[in-house]
C-alpha cells in the first residue's frame, strides 16, 4: 500500500498522443501558404488521409481488413452528386438537395449497407470478410457501370452547387478546407475511440476473439459498430472527393486499386496507431508524387519495392517501428 502511494499510478484512459496529432494538423494547415501552387496535390492527399483514417477504424481497431472501401466511397460520391443534379433527381424529390444534405444521405446509406454486409459476414472468422469486401465492391461497380440512372460507364458530372456560407465549393482553397475538416473529424473520432470502452473492446476483439468473449465482449457487435462508423466517414470522404473531382466515372472511382490504396496507406503508416494512417497517406502521396516526376517510368517499381520493404521490416507499419525503437512517440498510448 505504501509502495503504491509513492509510485505514480499509470493511466490507461487517455486520448493518446494529442501533441503528435496537433503537430500534424499544424503542418497540414500551413501547407497552402507554402505550396499554394500545388493545391490539387494537397486536396487529394488530405482526402485520402481522411479515408485511410476512416478505413483504420475497421481495419486497424477491429482488425478487419477491407479491400472494398471504394464501394463506400462510391456511395458517398454518387449519392451526393445524384441528389444535387436536377436532371437525375428521383421522382419523389421536388428540388435538388444541397451537397451537405446529399452527403448526409450518402452516409446513412453507407451505414445501412455496412450493417447488412457486416451482419452477414462478421459471424465468419478469418479472411471471409476480406473476400466479401472485394465482392461487394465489384457488384456495386457493375451496377454503376450498367445503370442508366448512375450515368453508366461515363459516370457523372458535378452540377452547379450552392455556396456554403458564401464560399464557392469549387474553389481549391475551400476544398482544402473541407478536406482538412474531414481529416480533423476522423482524427477526433479516433482519439475519442482510443479513450473509450468501445476502443478497448475493439482492440480485444482484434487480438483474440475468444479471449474477448470470455470478458463479456460480443465480437460481432464490436466489428459491426466499427464498420458502421468507418462506412459513414468513408462516404463523407467520397462526397468531398466528388466535389474535388467534379467529374468521375465508375472505372476509376469504384476500382479495386482505390480500395487497395486506402488500405495500404493505413497499413504502411501503422494500423495499430492513432496517427499511422494519416502519416502513411502523407508519406505515400509525397513519395508517389516525387517518384512520378523524378523517376518517371521507374516510379511504380520503386513504389512497389518501398511497400514490400515496409511490410517485411515493419509489420506494424512505420509507427510500429518507432514504438519498437522505444522512441515512445505515443503510438496508441
Amino acid at each position: 500500500m505504501t509502495a503504491a502511494a509513492t509510485l505514480p499510478r499509470p493511466r490507461a484512459l487517455t486520448f493518446g498522443n494529442l501533441w503528435l496529432s496537433g503537430a500534424l494538423l499544424v503542418v497540414i494547415a500551413l501547407y497552402p501558404f507554402v505550396f499554394g501552387k500545388a493545391m490539387n496535390f494537397g486536396v487529394s492527399t488530405l482526402i485520402f488521409a481522411g479515408l485511410a483514417m476512416s478505413w483504420n477504424i475497421l481495419g486497424g481497431w477491429a482488425g478487419q481488413t477491407s479491400l472494398g472501401h471504394a464501394a463506400l466511397l462510391g456511395i458517398g460520391a454518387y449519392t451526393m452528386t445524384l441528389l444535387a443534379t436536377p436532371e437525375r433527381l428521383p421522382a419523389f424529390l421536388p428540388a435538388p438537395l444541397a451537397p451537405w444534405w446529399g452527403a448526409l444521405v450518402g452516409m446513412i446509406l453507407a451505414v445501412l449497407l455496412a450493417a447488412i454486409w457486416g451482419g452477414l459476414t462478421f459471424r465468419l472468422r478469418g479472411s471471409y470478410f476480406t473476400l466479401s469486401t472485394i465482392a461487394v465492391a465489384l457488384v456495386l461497380r457493375l451496377v454503376a457501370i450498367n445503370s442508366e440512372w448512375t450515368g453508366s460507364s461515363e459516370g457523372l458530372f458535378m452540377p452547379e452547387l450552392p455556396t456554403l456560407f458564401g464560399l464557392d465549393l469549387f474553389d481549391r482553397k475551400v476544398e482544402y478546407g473541407l478536406a482538412f475538416a474531414f481529416v480533423l473529424l476522423t482524427l477526433i473520432i479516433t482519439h475519442l475511440i482510443r479513450r473509450s470502452r468501445l476502443g478497448y473492446g475493439l482492440q480485444a476483439v482484434r487480438e483474440d476473439e475468444d479471449g474477448a468473449r470470455a470478458l463479456g465482449i460480443d465480437p460481432t457487435r464490436m466489428k459491426l459498430i466499427a464498420f458502421m462508423i468507418s462506412a459513414a466517414l468513408t462516404a463523407l470522404g467520397g462526397s468531398i472527393y466528388a466535389v474535388y473531382l467534379q467529374a468521375f466515372e465508375p472505372h476509376t472511382l469504384l476500382e479495386l486499386p482505390i480500395s487497395v490504396q486506402i488500405a495500404l496507406m493505413a497499413i504502411i503508416g501503422g494500423r495499430t496507431s492513432i496517427q499511422g494512417p494519416l502519416i502513411g497517406a502523407l508519406l505515400l502521396s509525397i513519395f508517389g508524387e516525387l517518384f512520378r516526376t523524378v523517376f518517371s517510368s521507374a516510379n511504380l517499381l520503386i513504389y512497389g519495392v518501398l511497400i514490400l520493404a515496409v511490410t517485411i521490416y515493419a509489420p506494424n507499419g512505420l509507427m510500429g517501428l518507432f514504438r519498437r525503437g522505444g522512441l515512445k512517440l505515443g503510438v496508441n498510448r
Partner: protein, 254 residues
C-alpha cells in the same frame, strides 16, 4: 481460530443454494464422445476440483460449462436460471468468469489495459480504470500496470489471467490450470489467493494437474477418465479410490 472450519467454506457452502448446477452434460465431436453424462454443482464459497489423466475431457467440460463449446446433451443453470444456450459473453454478464489454460493476454495492451477491458463490463470511464487498478493491487501486479502484457513472465501472465477474470466481478470462477508450471513460491501465492477468493464467497471450479494442490484446496473433487465420471467426493476419499489410482498409474501395478 474458529474460522478454520469455516474457511474451508464447508459449513456455509452446505447451507447455501447451489450457484451452478450441471446435469447430464454430454459433449460429442462427430463420433467421439469427449464428455459423457457429467453432473456437478457448486455453491458460493465452494471449490470444486476437476482431476483426471490427460485427455480425460476436463478442458472440454470446462468449455462446455462456460459456453465456448456447444453441449450435445445436458443442462446448465446459474442461480437457478437456465443458461445452457447462452453465449460466453452473456454468461460473463451473469457472473461467470474463466481463465484459459494457455494464458492469452492482449499483447499489444499494457497490463492495466488488459484488465480494463474486463472492468468495462460493470464500470464506465474512470471508475472502470480505478476498478482495474484495484484488481491489479489485489493480485499483486500493480507495480507492473504500465508494462506491455507481452513482456510478463509465466507466473505474472497467470496472475494477469486471474486479474482479468476477477475484474468481471464474478460469483463463479473457472480456473483452467492456473498453478501448473509455476515454481513453488509462485504456487504458494496462487493457492493462497484462490483460497482467499473462496472465503470471500466465490464459487470456484478448477482443473489442475498438481495433485497435492487440488487435494488441499478443494472441498469436493470430481475425477474423470475418458470423458466419464470415475469417482467423486471428499478429496481424500477420491485420492484413495482404487479406480482413480488405476487411472493414474495404469492397470499393471496389481
Amino acid at each position: 481460530m474458529t474460522g478454520v472450519a469455516e474457511s474451508r467454506g464447508v459449513p456455509a457452502a452446505e447451507r447455501a443454494a447451489p450457484l451452478l448446477t450441471a446435469e447430464g452434460i454430454t459433449i460429442r465431436f462427430g463420433g467421439v464422445t469427449a464428455v459423457k453424462n457429467i453432473n456437478l454443482s457448486v455453491r458460493p464459497g465452494e471449490i470444486l476440483g476437476l482431476i483426471g489423466p490427460n485427455g480425460a475431457g476436463k478442458t472440454t467440460l470446462f468449455n462446455g460449462l462456460t459456453g465456448f463449446v456447444r453441449l450435445s446433451e445436458g443442462r446448465v443453470t446459474l442461480d437457478g436460471r437456465d443458461i445452457t444456450h447462452l453465449q460466453p459473453q452473456a454468461r460473463s454478464r451473469l457472473g461467470m468468469a474463466r481463465t484459459f489454460q494457455v494464458e492469452r493476454p492482449f499483447e499489444d495492451l499494457s497490463v492495466l489495459e488488459n484488465v480494463l477491458v474486463a472492468a468495462f463490463l460493470r464500470h464506465r470511464g474512470r471508475a472502470a480504470e480505478d476498478h482495474a487498478y484495484a484488481v491489479l493491487e489485489r493480485v499483486g501486479l500493480a507495480d507492473r500496470a504500465a508494462q506491455p502484457a507481452a513482456e510478463l513472465n509465466l507466473a505474472r501472465r497467470r496472475r494477469l489471467e486471474l486479474a482479468k477474470a476477477l475484474a468481471l466481478e464474478p460469483r463463479l470462477l473457472f480456473l483452467d490450470e492456473s498453478i501448473a508450471g509455476l515454481n513453488p513460491p509462485a504456487q504458494q501465492e496462487m493457492v493462497a489467493l484462490i483460497r482467499e477468493l473462496a472465503q470471500s464467497g466465490l464459487g470456484i471450479v478448477m482443473v489442475e494437474h498438481i495433485m497435492h494442490v487440488i487435494m488441499t484446496l478443494s472441498d469436493h473433487v470430481i475425477c474423470m477418465a475418458f470423458g466419464e465420471l470415475l469417482a467423486e467426493g471428499h478429496p481424500a476419499d477420491v485420492a484413495a479410490h482404487p479406480d482413480v489410482i488405476r487411472a493414474y498409474l495404469g492397470d499393471d501395478h496389481d
